[in-house]
Every structure is written in C-alpha cells, then in structure tokens.
C-alpha cells in the first residue's frame, strides 16, 4: 500500500506534464513520443514543486488538500485539452516501425537495474542527502507553519541558501503518507536518473537516428561512480536532468525542421520549453542558477549573432523569456524573500584574514586536471577528450558551438567561485564537490559529442 501511495504523486505529476506537453506540441510535433513523454514528465515534476512552493507561501506551511486539489484540476484540464486537440492520438505505432527504438529502450531499462541495486545499498543516500536535501524535505514536511525556520543562518551546515526543487519534490512524494519515508527520496533519485538517461538516449536518437545513441546513456549508467552519485539523493542528478532538458530544447530551437527551412523564423514552441526548463534549472542549486544565466545569455547572443539565417524574432524571444520568467519566478522569490544568503562565503578579494592567492588558483586548475583523469571516471573524460580531438571540426561547427562555449563559461564560473570564496580549505572543498560539478555536466557533454559526431550534414 505504501508503495502505491509513494508512486501516486509522482505518477500524477508525470501525467499532468505529459498531457500538457502533448497538447502544447500539437499535431506537428517533430520529436518522438518517448522524448515528448520524458520532457513532459520532467516538466510535470518541476510544476509540482512550484505548486508546493506557492502553497507554502499562501498557506504558511505544507497543506496536502489544496496541493492535491490543484494537481487533480490540472490533470482534468490537461486531459480535456489533450482530447479536444487530438482525439485520435491514441493510434498504436506498429511494432515493425518502432522495433529499433524498442530495442534501444530495452537496453536502457536493463542498464538501470544496477542503478536500482546500488540505490538499495544506500537507503538514506550520501552525506549531503541527510545534511542538506532530505533534511530540508523532512523539515518542510514536519514543521507546519514554522517552515521558515529552515532558513535560519544557524543552519549553515545545511546550506539554507540552496533552492528547494529537490526537497519540495520529496515533500510532494510524501503527500499521501503519514510520515516521511526514506524510500520516497530513493524513488526521486531513481526517477531523475531514469529521466536523465532516457532524455539523453531520446535526444541523441532524435538528432542522429542511429543505434549508437544507446552508447551515450550506457556509458554513464555502467560507470560505478555515476551510479553512486545518481542514487546518493543529491540535487546533482536533478540539476543534470534539467540542464540536459534545457540543452535538448535549445538544440531543437536552433535546428528547425526541414519543411520550415524557408521560413526564417524558428519554431518558437521549443524556445518556450527551453525557457521553462531553464527556469526549473535555476531552482535546483546555486550552480543551476549560474547555468541558467549562461543559457539565457547564450540564447540572446545566438539571436543577435549577425550571420545567423534563422531567428526567433521578437515573438519567439518573447516565448523564451515567458518560459524563463514563469518557471524561474520561484527562484527569484526564494532568493529575494527567503534565502538568508550564503553563510559560508568569504570574498577573498576583500578579506585580509583569508585573501585569494595565485597558489589557490593553481591548486584549483591542477586539481581539475587530476580529477578529469581520476580512475573513478574509468577514463570517460579521456574518451570525451578523444572524441573532441578526432571530430574537432564537427564538434565546433555552427549548430553546436554554443554547447562548448557554455561548458567553458560554466567551468570558468565555477573555478572563479572556488577561487573567490576563501571560506573553505580549498583541498577539502575541491575533493568533496568538484566531482559533482563534473558529474552534472556528463549528460550534456555526451549529448554534444554523440550528436556532433553522428550528424552527417551541416545544419544551416
């Protein structure tokens, strides 16, 4: 019974997201149903956290009734829109036509088994799970109308300035239960791992139409360290998913379908989706906020780039910004009204006690290199480096060049922060967090390399 009560909230979120996504993308949707469902499920989960966040503000605490009611209304609305827009969409696809995809997703399903087994070894996750993410979830679930005590500076060990997407997802998972069972946090981690791997496979397959797409998620899921971090119940896998979803939607925005090639305006629906996923991304972690800002910047630079043939135009850019504002509003409210600010921050440029130094920067850069070739990655970063070297022209061609630009700027931003914030001993800090920064980037790097290497013709 508990299992059913655990799955119902997540199933409800996924169903709402999928119904709205199918309605929104409409008849001329050019992405596969699987990719649509995965993006829809991710958007639905993000939407649930927003509903919860607003309910906390409105009702001053966690109130199950209104939250479940809003979800049921959205489900009914989504179903109505789905049926009224395309009643005949339930047409079954023939097995023959879909056998390649069935084969690929079956392999993915098999690769998720070791992840599930790993999750069972760590029922309460890793250190940050009980100190930060699950602690916050328990607090929000149990504190009633005293939930704002969570943002007291004295809880600096639990990083009260971190956004709440993962804790609120777990609270939503507990909404039909009497007590906060740890298995919900396990299920959340597994669900986001599945969504990340599935979106990676579906995304690569969409752009390449090649069976080699299966290799991209397989390389990640079979890597023991990736599996361990994915099921540690940290927000990194959530960040990784929303980053990947945003990048996939931006790629769909930048590569218009063949029948629209003559039209200089790009299909703005994917721009809106990209904006929504960027908004969700900003609510995952401070690193997510940085990534979101960079992606927004990249969208604007791409739009203003003088030699681009296809443009979003003002309405398209408006769609994108509308998505960002809608989904990014909770992040803004959180930062302005609730976050106590980073309690573990010392500006090394202004501090006399802990000043920045060249040695610190050198150490960060050296540690990055050591980390990239660390045996915990089994040589995965060397493989990515090899892929870039052998396909350097393809990797940096026009439709994809913004991805390495983003990665470079993101890593640059993270390195600058490590250098600037001198609160922590840099050795310990790098050791405990740099691997997670790299972990969150893995799916995007995999998507970039596989799509770039397997794209035959240069997309105009």
């Amino acid at each position: 019974m508990d299992f059913l009560l655990t799955t119902i909230p997540f199933a409800l979120s996924c169903a709402v997201g999928i119904l709205f996504m199918t309605w929104f993308l409409g008849q001329r949707c050019r992405i596969s149903p699987v990719l649509r469902y995965l993006l829809g499920a991710g958007a639905g989960l993000g939407l649930s956290t927003h509903i919860l966040f607003y309910s906390f503000i409105l009702f001053d605490g966690f109130r199950r009734g209104p939250v479940i009611f809003v979800h049921l209304v959205l489900l009914a609305g989504g179903f109505f829109l789905y049926r009224s827009s395309a009643p005949s969409r339930f047409r079954p696809t023939s097995f023959h036509a879909a056998k390649k995809e069935i084969f690929l997703y079956s392999i993915l399903g098999l690769a998720l088994i070791p992840i599930w087994i790993t999750a069972r070894y760590y029922p309460l996750g890793g250190w940050d799970a009980w100190q930060v993410w699950n602690f916050k979830a328990r607090f929000l679930f149990l504190a009633g109308n005293e939930w704002e005590r969570l943002f007291r500076p004295m809880l600096w060990r639990s990083s009260p300035h971190y956004p709440l997407l993962l804790p609120l997802t777990n609270v939503w998972g507990w909404s039909l239960l009497k007590e906060p069972l740890p298995r919900v946090c396990q299920a959340t981690a597994f669900l986001f791992t599945f969504l990340t791997a599935g979106t990676l496979l579906a995304g690569v397959y969409h752009f390449t139409k090649h069976v080699v797409s299966a290799l991209a998620p397989l390389l990640l899921l079979t890597l023991p360290f990736f599996g361990l971090l994915a099921v540690s119940q940290y927000s990194d896998i959530v960040l990784s998913f929303y980053l990947l979803a945003a990048v996939v939607c931006m790629m769909l925005t930048f590569t218009p379908p063949r029948d629209l090639r003559e039209n200089p305006r790009i299909d703005a629906r994917y721009a809106l989706l990209a904006g929504i996923f960027i908004g969700f991304l900003s609510f995952t972690k401070p690193e997510g906020m940085l990534a979101a800002l960079l992606l927004i910047g990249i969208m604007f630079v791409a739009e203003l780039w003088p030699r681009r043939q296809q443009r979003l135009g003002t309405p398209g850019l408006g769609f994108f910004l509308a998505g960002v504002v809608l989904a990014g509003l909770p992040s803004v409210i959180f930062v302005l009204a609730y976050s106590p600010g980073n309690q573990t921050f010392v500006n090394g440029f202004l501090s006399d006690a802990k000043p920045v130094s060249c040695y610190r920067l050198k150490m960060i850069l050296a540690f990055l290199l050591v980390e990239l070739k660390s045996e915990k990655w089994n040589g995965l970063w060397l493989l990515w480096a090899g892929g870039i070297i052998v396909g350097i022209k393809k990797c940096f061609q026009r439709p994809f060049v913004w991805i390495p630009a983003f990665l470079f700027l993101y890593l640059g931003g993270v390195i600058s922060y490590y250098w600037l914030n001198t609160y922590f001993d840099i050795g310990w800090w790098l050791q405990s967090s740099l691997n997670r920064i790299l972990f969150t980037l893995l799916p995007v790097v995999a998507l970039w390399l596989f799509v770039a290497l397997w794209t035959e013709k240069k997309t105009p």
């Binding site: 070791p114 504190a143 890597l223 023991p224 396909g391």
Partner: protein, 182 residues
C-alpha cells in the same frame, strides 16, 4: 587477417598488388595500389565516429567489469557490516522534543572528526524540525554527547541542568531549568 587480404587481392584481380594506408579529411582508409590508381578495401574504416565508437565500446566493457567488481565488493561489505545510520540513536527523543524549537547539542568531541560530524548531521536529520545548535547551553533541552560519562556529568553540573534520560548509546537528554529560549 593475411588470408583475408590475400582473398581480397585475388578477388579484385590484381597481379602485383601492394597494400597501403592513407588518412585524410574524411578519415583514414586502407587501399590497394594498382597500376591505374588506388582502390579502397575498407572505405572510411577509421572515421572519427568509428574510432570514437570503438573507444566507447572498450570503455563500456571496462565499465561493466568495474561495475561487477564494485557490486560484489558492496555486497560483501554489507554482509560483514550492515548499514548503520547513526542518527537512529536519537530517534527515541522525537516525542519528547515535539514542540521544541532549538536544542543545544553539547559535546566535547572534535567536530572536525568525520564520525563526530556525521553523528551530528544525522541527529539533526532525524530530529527535524527541531534545530540542533552546537554547544549552545541556554536552551530548554540539551543533548549531551561526550566521549565518556564523567565528562558528560561534569558538563551537566556546570550548566546546572537536570538529566532526564540516557539511551543505550550514552547520549543524555537534560533539561535546563533557566532557559533563555524555549
């Protein structure tokens, strides 16, 4: 491999063939020199994507081997030492601390030590939404977690607190008769 090459050479009907290798913009390939020119045997066999796929497949095999070894190791480790969550030491206090805002966590342990920090973090997790404040002594309730009972008794005496309960792990719940915060 040699037989395969001889077969291909015979098949294409060359009298004096010689094998070669070239690399270009479209990738590397093997070829046979003919008097009239070159004939490709394995067209574009060493293209960037083929090389990348080969390397990825090798890495996948390495991943699968390490994954198997890791799981075996984890299973053995769990059989020897079952999963212990130190926070459960504090779970019996939840009912008593139900309506409490903040509890002082008084300890003489070095919190830079991994195990001490771990226990504090897990206690905070289990007792949420009660906030544990490290070495604060003016709260109504205090959790005394010391390296030995004598130090714990000494701490309680110094604060002037009244011990209420001690669990099997030596953690004492004490009440402060003159709290500054509830």
């Amino acid at each position: 491999m040699l037989n395969l090459v001889i077969f291909i050479v015979k098949y294409v009907g060359l009298k004096k063939p010689s094998l070669g290798f070239t690399a270009g913009r479209q990738g590397a390939t093997f070829f046979i020199k003919k008097k009239t020119g070159m004939k490709k045997i394995f067209p574009r066999i060493l293209t960037p994507k083929n090389l990348f796929t080969l390397a990825a497949l090798i890495l996948l095999i390495i991943n699968l081997i390490t994954l198997g070894l890791k799981h075996k190791k984890m299973r053995q480790a769990r059989q020897q030492i079952p999963y212990i969550f130190m926070g459960y030491k504090f779970s019996g206090l939840k009912e008593i601390l139900k309506n409490t805002d903040t509890v002082g966590y008084v300890t003489d342990k070095n919190m830079d030590d991994r195990n001490s920090a771990l226990q504090f973090a897990q206690a905070q997790f289990i007792l949420a939404p009660v906030i544990l404040e490290l070495n604060r002594t003016d709260t109504r309730y205090l959790l005394i977690d010391c390296t030995n009972p004598q130090i714990a008794r000494e701490k309680i005496r110094k604060i002037g607190a009244v011990p209420l309960k001690m669990n099997q792990f030596g953690i004492i719940l004490a009440k402060n008769p003159r709290p500054a915060i509830p």
